[in-house]
């Protein structure tokens, strides 16, 4: 009964979404208040329906109802409860339910908190949201019904893929989807604005918090995915430039550009057409990502078995959404008027540079990801474009942006002076020089690019802090006043400082592990010791064990440095009997300077010998710490006062224009 209720709720959600997509849209066109007023109730009703469907599916998984096909394929009675719940979205059908559930949740958030939006804009935004939902409901109901029954019911399930039975991957899809789907808000607002024919500061104030939220979630999602790959796959790597990874990275790049250009629209009433374009781009790339992952058209190390029929459906959806929105953009975009003018050397100019570099980088990633597909389609050879390509093209492109990133916040709006800005950063130049000299002296070797990376990280971090110091006039007045200024900084500027310094920490981590990773592969018998980067790994031995739904071989290593005990690492090789599938659990001990990392393979012979893979990964944990700081920075920025108080509505705007204009210089 529960599964049928879920299925029925899904169908009802489809019909509600059809109402939500049509009536308010037509109503907004004819200025018919009654028709427009359908937007809010239908958005909330749609959200309730899909919540019900999601709850039904979760219930079926939690109680292990093996008469539901989706549960049979992805669950097992012995599976721990965390993974019974995570198993709901750990498969194709369930992940789509999660997708539309998040979409509907965002839509109802607009319905509930959007009372101060102009009614036509709100009606159109919700209608566009619902149009996307309709596409996904049809996709689910026609090709991927999560509530399909099996008769007779199975005795037990086939278990969730053991690689997914992991805390990192339990939460990776929800965060990733919150990011992907979050960009649908910016997209819906962009389409609605194109239909309305106007984009102003009020519009930007609505779009920016949603974009920040989406970006923050996506940052965490990508971070979790990369962390999972790092410890679960046991290759010691954290990013492979694999198509599935690129699929999540492209919307991130476009989203980063969008959240910066939205500032310009809000503060300076310019770069509107470009911002609209970025909003369309970010969401289109999210859809493309969903397509690449769900269709299996590209060889990926992260690929799961897929069904081509479904790929075609998503491709169709992709063509309609991207084609439709870009056509609308081409028709209406040029009519948007900007008023703000600025010189190349200015805050706007800096943000535009950021946008240009990020979109160029995004184009490079897109080219590298789709090139094999393109070549295959025209009947050429089968090729793969891997890490060497992206490292050689993407990284050099980003370097000038990181240099400029330190200057951006110190430039003033409209027109600025580069020499003046450089003078204000002179402390940063001196400090960076000193720190880099110390680092260079302590390193006896290293690849050029990694050294450049470390230098950039130091520069960005120091300059970001110096900029904060400049803003609060540190050492330029009484300390008390400085503290006063520090507390009066807007949340948005705190967010910027946090996110930029987080980025610096991420770059340091990437450079560290990229340049100075030490790896050692060998056969070890109990008692053997191997030295990796100054740490002695002594193999104590391996023993058999039993987990809740797997058997395990656990290999222990005692790690010492100059005879001093550091830690005991316990690397696991698990075997999940239901799927007859082994997994590797790397043993990791994170230090400030880097990670001690050990993996064991299969036993070699009878005398307790194992193939072992030992690593020292310098600074690697900094990447995840930095990503968290970036994501946190975005959340701090969302909490900025201007998004909460006096949230703009158009009839009020005229009265506050004067105050706004004078407030611009401060932020």
């Amino acid at each position: 009964m529960i599964a049928e209720a879920g299925h029925f709720a899904l169908i009802l959600a489809l019909f509600t979404a059809i109402v939500q997509a049509s009536l308010p849209m037509v109503g907004a066109h004819h200025r018919n208040a009654l028709w427009m007023s359908f937007d809010k109730p239908s958005a909330i009703a749609q959200m309730l329906m899909i919540t019900l469907a999601f709850a039904c599916l979760t219930y079926s998984h939690v109680v292990s109802d093996f008469s539901v096909l989706n549960v049979v394929q992805n669950s097992h009675s012995m599976k721990p409860m965390l993974y019974k719940v995570a198993g709901v979205w750990g498969n194709h059908e369930g992940s789509l339910v999660l997708w539309v559930f998040i979409l509907a949740a965002f839509g109802s958030a607009v319905a509930i908190f959007g009372n101060n939006l102009p009614p036509t804009l709100r009606a159109r935004v919700l209608a566009v949201q619902a149009l996307i939902s309709v596409g996904f409901y049809l996709f689910m109901l026609l090709t991927s019904n999560p509530f399909e029954r099996v008769f007779p019911a199975a005795m037990d399930g086939r278990d969730l893929n053991p690689l997914l039975q992991d805390p990192g991957l339990a939460f990776h899809p929800p965060f990733l989807y919150l990011g992907y789907v979050g960009f649908s808000m910016a997209f819906s607002f962009a389409i609605a604005a194109l239909i309305e024919g106007r984009v102003d500061a009020a519009w930007a104030r609505w779009v920016r918090p949603w974009t920040l939220a989406a970006w923050s979630f996506l940052t965490i999602g990508i971070g979790l995915g990369s962390w999972w790959a790092y410890y679960e796959l046991g290759w010691g790597g954290w990013w492979f430039w694999d198509p599935v990874e690129n699929a999540s990275f492209m919307p991130w790049l476009a989203g980063t550009a969008l959240l910066h250009s939205a500032i310009v629209v809000e503060k300076r009433d310019t770069m509107k057409t470009w911002t609209i374009f970025l909003a369309i781009l970010a969401f289109s790339l999210s859809l493309l990502g969903t397509f690449l992952v769900r269709s299996g058209v590209l060889t990926s190390v992260h690929a799961f078995a897929t069904d081509p029929e479904r790929g075609v459906f998503i491709l169709l959806l992709l063509v309609i959404v991207i084609g439709g929105s870009l056509t609308l953009f081409a028709m209406r975009g040029p009519a948007l008027r900007s008023t703000g003018i600025f010189k190349p050397i200015s805050r706007e100019g800096g943000l535009l540079l950021n946008n240009l570099v990020l979109t160029t980088g995004c184009a490079v990633v897109l080219l590298g990801t789709l090139y094999p597909l393109f070549l295959d389609a025209v009947g050429g050879s089968k090729v793969s474009v891997g890490a060497p390509f992206f490292n050689a093209v993407f990284i050099p492109l980003m370097i000038p942006m990181f240099v400029a990133m330190a200057f951006g916040p110190i430039l003033s709006w409209k027109r600025s002076d580069l020499i003046q800005a450089a003078l204000r950063l002179k402390t940063a130049f001196i400090l960076t020089g000193l720190i880099c000299a110390v680092i260079l002296a302590s390193l006896d070797h290293g690849p050029f690019l990694a050294i450049v990376g470390l230098g950039l990280a130091v520069w960005l971090f120091v300059a970001t802090l110096v900029e904060l110091g400049e803003r609060v006039r540190l050492f330029k007045g009484p300390l008390k006043e400085t503290f006063g200024r520090l507390f009066r900084q807007t949340r948005a500027s705190w967010g910027m400082t946090l996110a930029h310094s987080g980025m610096a920490i991420v770059i340091a981590g990437m450079a560290g592990v990229g340049g100075w990773k030490v790896e050692s592969i060998q056969v070890m018998k109990p008692g053997d010791t191997v030295n990796v980067a100054g740490y002695d790994y002594k193999f104590i031995g391996a023993r058999q064990g039993q987990g809740p739904n797997y058997t395990v071989i656990e290999g222990k290593f005692e790690v010492t440095q100059d005879g001093q005990h550091v830690t005991v690492l316990s690397a696991e090789k698990r075997n999940y009997p239901v799927r007859q599938m082994p997994t590797t659990e790397a043993a990791i001990h994170s230090l400030f300077s880097g990670d001690l990392y050990a993996v064991i393979g299969d036993p070699e012979g009878k005398d307790g010998k194992f193939v072992t893979r030992l690593y020292f990964n310098p600074l690697v944990a900094w990447m995840w710490a930095g990503s968290l700081i970036m994501a946190f920075g975005a959340l701090v920025s969302i909490s900025d006062r201007r998004y909460r108080v006096g949230a703009p509505s158009r009839h009020k705007i005229k009265n506050v224009t004067v105050i706004e204009a004078s407030g611009i210089g401060q932020t």
Binding site: V72, A303, V364
Partner: protein, 159 residues
């Protein structure tokens, strides 16, 4: 500065960025694109020794041997031809005899020395290139029967 010139500055900057990206792309494409070859491709067409390539097919039954110093050797087949492969390290968890595999590396004195054996996350997953290589050698049906049986439940959801 007039508005027109301001605009030109940015267009110039954008073009400069694009030109840099294009130049970097073209120079990197030559060196970093890796071609996929099936065992038949390799046997029929000579391969230059230092060229990096991807080799894909099925791991031949009974061909996996463990050597000293963590080296593993196996044969990759498309059921028509086979190629000897050697790899040093820990093989991915889902590496099995009789199943699809994609390896990347170079030829060293007649043996394909892989430094990367692509793992997959799902035992029902067959890399599209491997499927194509098997179709080309006309052996797709024999090998795919097993896949279909395994994929039976998974595929069932779509109908």
């Amino acid at each position: 500065m007039k508005r027109k010139y301001k605009r030109l500055t940015f267009i110039g900057l954008a073009l400069l960025l694009l030109a840099t990206a294009a130049a970097l792309t073209l120079s990197a494409f030559e060196e970093s694109i890796v071609f996929f070859q099936s065992p038949t491709d390799i046997v029929t067409k000579p391969v230059s020794p230092n060229k990096r390539l991807r080799l894909g097919g099925l791991v031949e039954e009974g061909s996996v041997r463990k050597k000293d110093d963590a080296v593993v050797t196996f044969r990759v087949t498309d059921m028509t031809n086979t190629v000897n492969v050697s790899y040093r390290g820990i093989l991915p968890d889902l590496f099995r005899e009789g199943q699809g595999v994609v390896t990347e590396g170079i030829f060293v004195s007649g043996v394909f020395t892989a430094d990367e054996v692509l793992a997959k996350h799902d035992e029902n997953y067959m890399p599209p290139e491997v499927a194509d290589a098997l179709k080309k050698s006309g052996k797709w049906n024999e090998t795919s029967t097993e896949m279909k049986n395994q994929g039976h439940l998974l595929g069932g959801g779509a109908k």
